[in-house]
């Protein structure tokens, strides 16, 4: 008996060893992947788009980051370890030593300090879209080359998530001191890959950085990000030009790949996506300063019926508020259906919408919808919204522009109504809700309303550590936002990723902002 169990044990060990050996990462090769939009510039702090993250972020390091291989757990990148003081007001990070930028200069705590100061208090002319996430930082200290200390004004339940944003690239303090806008046109990071070339309209390529501080990483020799239109991704993958696209494909594109000859070469991942499509009203422009007009446009949208149908043709699915359905802090469906815009009886809602427009003197309302030229899901969403608003007598001009002017117009307020995606690297209420605050508090909030109640609720929940109390505050925020309609939640995305089976070490997550540093990715070829 003992000899049999020994044999079984040995066999099991051998099997495990064999399996482990099959999954041992291989070194070498260039990962080719598609990106369906181009970055307006290289500055992470000024960006909010995958068009920058996917091709550029592998060249940067972060203080801490989300680890998609561990369900989005926050892990150290430059930070070797950290401690949080008992009162929650001091975060002390110990950095890895021997880290170098791609030009060979050392990366120290001074660079981390300078980068976060740039985020928190951007110099004149520098855009920092997430400065509100650093509002609680009173001071940043660098007592020695390997230590960074953040001192907070108040407790912030989301502070570690704020540090972990994939847009918080660490820049060279010397370079941004010399020229604050240096990162817009230059890539000098300390990440696993270093810049080779960017050909606008074609590709961006990078090669392994041999001086990377994590020994034996990365596995890849390099990567090449091809900038293509959305409808070129599937043909490109079938033709072998690239092996993956990390944002997401539509249900029909998934089916095309999985039904095409040679479909055994593909791996499919599918699941909820922490991205919501919202409509933003620029409330500084008439008639969107009138709450009746905003409410009418919300009531016109058949969210429940429309989203179910849209899920068959594009990568949207769930109906919810401003937090992902299923997230612990999201308003449940039973609460949503009581709120305007979520009533089940759409004809009754539309009748009310027409009445509101009549009362507001806007029976022949004509609006311009600001949208992107990225095909999915923006075009189908645009078509859907135009149709829904047409049913209450509103005429809509559909204006689709390239990524750079699209975001530029949002930042500068040059729009009336915009379709916009709010994406976060992880379900995190403070990060998710910063898109709905006053613009003075959060530059990433484009509706430009002056409703301080939202700011107050946001501040309060961020300081509340008790989950039940925090939830009550978050729900009050959601209800207030839904009834004020500065922004409208339309639907939540459903992420579908198909990649070549030779691409290993990449982990699916609910966010296309996570896991794109490519450090652990390898090619099984």
């Amino acid at each position: 008996m003992r000899s049999v169990s020994t044999l079984i044990g040995v066999a099991a060990l051998a099997l495990a060893a064999g399996t482990a050996a099959a999954e041992t990462p291989k070194r070498g090769g260039t990962l080719n992947f598609a990106v369906v939009a181009e970055p307006p510039n290289y500055d992470c702090h000024a960006s909010q788009t995958f068009a920058l993250l996917h091709p550029v972020s592998p060249m940067y390091s972060y203080l801490v980051k989300y680890d998609s291989s561990q369900d989005g757990k926050i892990v150290g990148d430059l930070a070797k370890s950290w401690t949080i003081s008992p009162d929650g007001l001091t975060y002390t990070f110990k950095l890895h030593e021997g880290v170098k930028f791609h030009d060979g200069s050392p990366l120290t705590s001074a660079d981390v300090k300078a980068s976060f100061e740039r985020i928190a208090n951007p110099p004149e002319g520098v855009v920092s879209l997430r400065k509100s996430t650093m509002q609680d930082v009173a001071a940043i200290e660098a007592p020695d080359a390997a230590t960074v200390v953040f001192r907070l004004k108040g407790v912030n339940a989301s502070m570690l998530d704020n540090f972990a944003s994939p847009f918080h690239c660490i820049y060279s303090a010397a370079k941004i001191k010399e020229e604050p806008k240096f990162p817009e046109r230059n890539i000098l990071g300390s990440g696993a890959f270093q810049f080779v070339e960017y050909v606008r309209g074609s590709h961006l390529s990078a090669k392994r950085f041999d001086g990377y501080f994590r020994k034996d990483l990365p596995y890849l020799d390099g990567y090449k990000a091809f900038f293509v239109k959305s409808n070129a991704v599937v043909p490109g993958m079938l033709g072998g030009q690239f092996d993956a696209e990390f944002r997401g494909r539509t249900p029909s594109e998934r089916d095309q790949l999985l039904k095409a000859p040679g479909n055994e070469r593909w791996v499919l991942h599918e699941g909820p996506w922490a991205t919501v499509n919202i409509v933003i009203f620029n409330v500084t422009k008439k008639p969107f300063d009138d709450p009746r007009v905003r409410k009418a446009l919300s009531l016109a949208i058949d969210r429940w019926g429309g989203n179910e149908a849209l899920s068959k043709i594009t990568f949207v699915k769930a109906t919810g508020g401003f937090l992902r359905p299923g997230y612990a802090y999201a308003l449940p469906e039973s609460e949503l259906v009581k709120l305007p815009g979520y009533f089940r009886d759409i004809e009754k809602s539309r009748a009310e919408a027409r009445q509101l427009l009549k009362e507001a003197g806007q029976e022949n309302l004509s609006i311009k919808l600001h949208n992107r030229t990225v095909g999915e899901p923006y075009t189908p969403l645009g078509v859907f919204l135009i149709d829904q608003w047409k049913r209450i007598g509103v005429t809509v001009e559909h204006s689709q522009v390239e990524t750079a002017p699209y975001f530029g117009n949002l930042v500068e307020g040059k729009f009336d109504v915009a379709l916009y995606p709010v994406t976060v690297p992880a379900d995190e209420v403070t990060a998710q809700h910063q898109s709905y605050l006053t613009n003075a508090k959060s530059p990433i909030s484009y509706s430009r309303h002056e409703d301080k109640r939202l700011d107050e609720l946001w501040d309060e929940q961020s300081r509340t550590l008790d989950p039940d109390k925090r939830k009550a505050l978050v729900h009050e925020f959601e209800r207030h936002l839904i009834t004020q309609n500065y922004s409208l939640s339309v639907n939540w995305w459903q992420r579908i990723i198909v990649h070549h089976k030779k691409v290993k070490g990449w982990h699916f997550s609910p966010s296309h902002f996570q896991g794109q540093d490519l450090i652990g990715v390898w090619l099984d070829q």
Binding site: K229, N231, A309, H398
Partner: protein, 299 residues
């Protein structure tokens, strides 16, 4: 019956209109076919409100990707929109852009060519060098560059920058033909007489030269409508023309339509056929018009 001009006041004249049409119909049966198809498209464009059974932009998620038949003659697309209605309304976009672009391009080209041929010398050289540069760009590349630089500009529902972009490649081609026609008549006695009578250059070009290049102008303008329709469809397909949900044939072929070509081929077959038929009709009509109006062939 043609009358050759003997004084500056006399120009080539053509018989009364009624017999013209009958002459054309009688002698150009293929042209008649082209003309009938064009008339059908014009009827679609003008009568879309009455002909199309559905609002071309109306989304119906209960009828997504319905095959041809029943109340949807040509089926529906991924949004449940009626394909036949979108083709009928699409004729407006195609004809409006096609005709306006062709007219704009041919008119400007004719004036350039006439001036070039009339003045000769350095003016001719300069204009022809500009024409050479414009001709060196492939048609669609030039149009794409113009659209990309100018963006969109709506005037009464028409994108004037798109029309400019499509007209631009037409200008040099018309200019060449107009120059050639002008050179053949600029040495004629009636032009000398007009100069001797003290008429201004502008008057001579507009009153005495351009009427004599009407025939090639009409032929080219008709032929260019076909090219313009094709170019507009190409630009819309590439995302540089009209945007969703505007019904436009090229736009119906682009974007997510490619995702559904296996499950719903009617989404691309019918718009493709509409474009093909329109281009065919204008080419047919243009060829017949050339055959009918060309004096050498007539004699």
């Amino acid at each position: 019956m043609a009358v050759v001009a003997t004084t500056p006041a006399q120009v080539e004249t053509l018989p009364p209109r009624g017999s013209l049409l009958w002459q054309f119909v009688r002698t150009q049966p293929l042209g008649l076919i082209g003309l009938l198809i064009i008339v059908l498209y014009v009827a679609f464009a003008l009568g879309a409100v009455w002909i199309a059974p559905f609002d071309p932009e109306a989304v119906d998620f209960g009828a997504m990707l319905a095959p041809p038949g029943g109340e949807h003659l040509f089926g529906t697309d991924q949004y449940g929109r009626d394909v036949f209605s979108r083709i009928v309304y699409g004729a407006r976009t195609a004809l409006a852009v096609g005709i306006l672009s062709s007219l704009f391009g041919c008119t400007l080209g004719a004036l350039m060519g006439a001036a070039s041929g009339y003045f000769g010398g350095r003016i001719d050289t300069a204009i022809q060098r500009v024409v050479d540069i414009m001709l060196s760009f492939p048609l669609i590349v030039l149009a794409m560059v113009v659209v990309a630089v100018l963006g969109k500009k709506n005037l009464a529902g028409i994108d004037v920058n798109l029309i400019t972009a499509i007209a631009l490649p037409i200008i040099p081609k018309m200019a060449r033909v107009a120059r050639s026609s002008t050179l053949s008549i600029v040495t004629m006695p009636f032009i000398d007489a007009a100069r001797a009578a003290g008429f201004s250059h502008t008057r001579i070009i507009l009153r005495h030269i351009t009427p004599n290049i009407v025939a090639p102008y009409l032929i080219m303008a008709t032929a260019f409508i076909a090219q313009a329709i094709l170019l507009e469809a190409s630009l819309s397909f590439l995302g540089l023309g009209v945007t969703e949900p505007t019904p436009a044939w090229g736009l119906m072929l682009s974007g997510t339509s490619a995702d559904f070509y296996q499950t719903a081929p009617w989404m691309i077959l019918f718009p493709g056929a509409a474009i093909t038929l329109a281009v065919f009709a204008f080419n047919l009509f243009g060829d017949s018009l050339r055959d009918w109006l060309d004096p050498k062939l007539k004699s």
